[in-house]
């Protein structure tokens, strides 16, 4: 039986709902949000009819289904008896990769492969700069040299090495 104690995510009121399956609940909310956003953007696209579908027909139909799925997920998450917690979000790794890759994408066309790679590698291996600096320098250097040789020299991919 579900515990009846109100927890985070439960609503105040005479009946206390307990969100047992938190990932399911949040994923349902996510789907709902995406669905609403999609419909908002695609509102202006010509809809057409079932036999002559305009560009907006399919996306909006999909968004409706997605919204339904989101709604069903949230309901299921509250009513299920299986408890599930949210695992810890790996903030630092996830964001270090994201920032590194973003920087790589921005730097690559203007500053070349070597500098972009350097930025990326520094971002994703930042911890080792302090703890094992020599290892960091060696690994970074080896990777940059290797990828420059492999992709640009050997494979002839149109990438500038330097700005």
């Amino acid at each position: 039986m579900e515990p009846n104690a109100p927890k985070a995510g439960g609503s105040a009121g005479p009946r206390h709902y307990h969100v047992a399956d938190k990932p399911l609940f949040l994923s349902g909310l996510m789907f709902l949000a995406i669905a609403v956003g999609t419909i908002a953007i695609a509102w202006d696209y010509p809809l057409g009819s079932a036999s002559e579908m305009g560009p907006g027909y399919f996306p909006i139909a999909l968004a409706v289904v997605l919204g339904l799925i989101g709604a069903i997920s949230t309901v299921l998450a509250v009513r299920t008896t299986v408890e599930r917690k949210l695992p810890a979000f790996p903030y630092l790794p996830a964001f270090s990769i994201a920032i590194g890759v973003l920087g790589f994408g921005i730097l690559l066309p203007r500053f070349g492969l070597v500098l972009a790679s350097l930025f990326l590698l520094v971002c994703i291996t930042y911890q080792r700069i302090r703890t094992k600096p020599i290892e960091f320098v060696v690994v970074t250097a080896v990777l940059i040299v290797f990828s420059s040789l492999l992709f640009v020299e050997f494979l002839g991919i149109p990438l500038e090495l330097w700005p």
Binding site: S51, G54, P59, L86, A94, G100, V101, F104, I106, L155
Partner: protein
């Protein structure tokens, strides 16, 4: 031309020095990828996509295929030796393979696994050879409703079979379809969801999505957890299986092969599902169920065979119909498209050299893997001692270069970064990324055929049921979905996964 003539032509192509080299390279990389946890074939293919631009399409496919089935051969090695599956589909093998290793029977387990892989792959290749032409000819008869129904089947099966709540995985598939609508609408030329970004006019590049959602998210998860280096006492007191072991294992190998071959063809399922199903089957029909979990040889032979048979037959929908059965196949489809080869049922008729060259190379690769997996095991185990922190910077760097070089687009790289974050979020929320990529790749096909069907039928959705093939497909898939949900197979699979996760 008979099958043998075509195979002969294929061997002609596969046995050139170049292609032998690519086959060996693919198998070796695949073995490495299979042994090392944290890298998957999908990620590896994404990394190596730029290399495929410079070589002929056949050679590219030979290498990529080698990586794929090589990884599935080798995944069991670490599962047995170190209780760490190199591939998700090898998780079940930990459960009986590692106890066998601790009992001193590691050699036996590895041998049986290698024999099972070899046998199952051979059968799988035969199924490909016989079945793909049939499928391709049937596919040429497919009209719009049939294609739409087939894609629907693929997505529904994928939803039911992936990890996570069925509703969630279906949602991910729909989301994938939705992302697939980004770009220029084919019928009217109107740009959808592009926000005036020119790079999006051609749609979202699936390599960015795949790399972001698989590679970046995987690395982010792994970076978070500390390196778990365990060394269990693995004794090699028995190197080769006894006759009794072989007699015990062989029926399991046969059953696993059959199960895997069948499940691999279905889009959405694949080696992962096949190995789980085989383990469940073996445990179910065993006379003494208590042996399982303590070193039952059927628990290694069955799943390993199923895994490899499915890995082979997984190619059939892609080669015969142009429909990817899973994300790895989607990557290979992408590689083919970039090379200028249009996937679809006409692939076999337009590019017979490609198809038969790849099939012939599978035979060769299979033999190579027998050598790579048994005598050279020590080498691969040494690879495992490389700490993850040396591997992941290279992985990410190569992936970034790979994504960029697909369309020379920096935007794709930025997109991959964003999708990496999304991928991590998805994993936190128990949303499996595979249906998303499948939906993305299949979206345009689905929409085009769905629209055309509706136009043909003047808006009547019953066209999908008045066309016999489409009706059969839809009914079968609904029956499949219902059976899976009701029979508790899904729950049993989740249970097995839960046990395997807790084991170390």
């Amino acid at each position: 031309m008979s099958v043998f003539d075509q195979l002969a032509m294929g061997f002609n192509i596969a046995l050139t020095l170049d292609n032998l080299g690519y086959c060996l390279l693919g198998s070796a990389i695949g073995t490495m990828v299979g042994v090392l946890p944290g890298i998957s074939p999908v990620t590896t293919i994404a990394m190596l996509l730029p290399i495929t631009f410079k070589i002929p399409a056949v050679s590219a496919m030979i290498m990529l295929a080698g990586i794929y089935y090589g990884a599935h051969h080798a995944g069991s090695t670490t599962a047995i030796m170190l209780n760490m599956p190199g591939e998700p589909s090898s998780v079940v093998i930990c459960m009986d393979g590692h106890p066998m290793a601790r009992q001193g029977r590691a050699g036996v387990a590895l041998c049986i696994a290698a024999i099972g892989s070899f046998f199952a792959s051979c059968v799988g290749i035969i199924v490909i050879t016989l079945f793909s032409p049939v499928l391709s000819e049937a596919g040429l008869l497919f009209g719009a409703p049939e294609y739409a129904a087939l894609v629907a089947v693929a997505l529904m099966t994928a939803s039911v079979m992936s990890t996570g709540h069925a509703v969630t995985t279906f949602g991910m598939a729909i989301l994938g379809l939705l992302i697939g609508t980004v770009g220029t609408d084919v019928g009217t030329g109107l740009e959808r969801f592009t926000f005036s970004v020119p790079d999006l006019a051609d749609g979202v590049d699936f390599v960015s999505v795949a790399v972001g959602v698989f590679a970046f998210a995987e690395v982010a998860q792994h970076m978070g957890s500390p390196d778990r280096r365990k060394s269990f006492a693995v004794r090699f007191s028995e190197l080769f299986p006894r006759l009794a072991d072989l007699k015990q294992a062989f029926p399991a190998i046969l059953r696993g092969t059959g199960l895997g071959a069948a499940l691999g063809i279905l889009p959405g399922t694949g080696p992962l599902v096949a190995s789980f199903a085989s383990y469940a089957l073996e445990r179910q029909i065993a006379k003494d169920k208590s042996r399982f979990g303590k070193g039952a040889i059927e628990g290694v032979a069955g799943p390993e065979s199923a895994d490899n048979a499915a890995a082979m037959t997984h190619f059939i929908p892609m080669l015969g119909l142009g429909i990817p059965a899973g994300p790895a196949m989607a990557m290979m489809l992408g590689a083919l498209t970039i090379q200028g080869v249009t996937p679809g049922p006409q692939l076999m008729t337009n590019h017979p050299d490609l198809f038969w060259g790849v099939v012939a190379s599978m035979w060769i690769g299979n033999v190579m893997l027998l050598v790579l997996n048994l005598p050279m095991i020590g080498v691969w185990i040494k690879f495992l001692s490389i700490p993850y922190r040396f591997l992941y910077p290279g992985i990410i760097l190569f992936c970034c270069i790979g994504v960029y070089s697909v369309r020379n687009s920096a935007f794709d790289v930025l997109l991959a970064a964003a999708l990496g974050l999304f991928g991590v979020l998805a994993r936190q929320l128990n949303c499996s990324p595979a249906p998303l990529v499948l939906g993305l790749v299949l979206g345009p096909i689905f929409e085009e055929n769905f629209r055309r069907s509706m136009t043909l039928s003047n808006g009547d959705p019953m066209i999908f049921f008045t066309h016999p093939i489409s009706a059969v497909l839809l009914v079968l898939s609904v029956a499949f979905v219902v059976t899976m949900s009701v029979s508790g197979v899904r729950k049993r699979k989740q249970d097995i996964v839960a046990v395997a996760d807790d084991a170390p």
